[in-house]
Homo-oligomer: 95 residues x 2
Amino acid sequence: MSDQLGMVFGALADPSRRQVIGYLSERGTATATELTGELPMTRQAVAKHLATLADAGLVESERQGRETRYRLTEAGAEWDDRLDSLKRHLERRRR
Amino acid sequence: MSDQLGMVFGALADPSRRQVIGYLSERGTATATELTGELPMTRQAVAKHLATLADAGLVESERQGRETRYRLTEAGAEWDDRLDSLKRHLERRRR
DNA sequence: CTGTAGCGCAACTTGGAGGTTGCACATGAT
DNA sequence: ATCATGTGCAACCTCCAAGTTGCGCTACAG
């Protein structure tokens, strides 16, 4: 599909994926197996989320030896910032 | 559910719903029947999209006589602006 | 009061998202 | 050479989103 914006929003709609973005932002890089320790699901499920994020252009991967390390793309880092702003914006508004 | 941010992103992930936001931004208000003329689907489908947008807090409705008029909330109007910025941002980046 | 225009509700179908399990393959350690 | 670790692929299940059709109710017009 070529609905770039739609893919990005679709990727961001899932809380697990937003959490992955947060972790990658803190730690720089991570493997699917590492992230599995942080999320209540199997490695394969995490891998699917990472694939979705990669399709949306928010994450990129590089194979190093027998592990595959993921990191945020520039677009992904920008969205991590926007997510912070949006959360604060929502909390302000809630009262 | 209480994943406010997730609901917003989920709502924005659908191109038809983004289009509805655009129309409401241009015209101020519209009914489901009016919007049906602009989208390749039935009135009930449009009504569902409007309900999704309302759940996400992007749109609100008011019944006037026998029609129900929808308009953007403040949050919806802000997102209409952000969508414009994002589209331009994406186009710049594409080259 | 009868017709018709606009809505809402409910049932149903279909496709895809999110998750699991099982297995095969590659790579580093012993 | 063998074993363990990390990955990828594929099949499968379940649930929800998106859309349709059909029907019944409300409200304005004649």
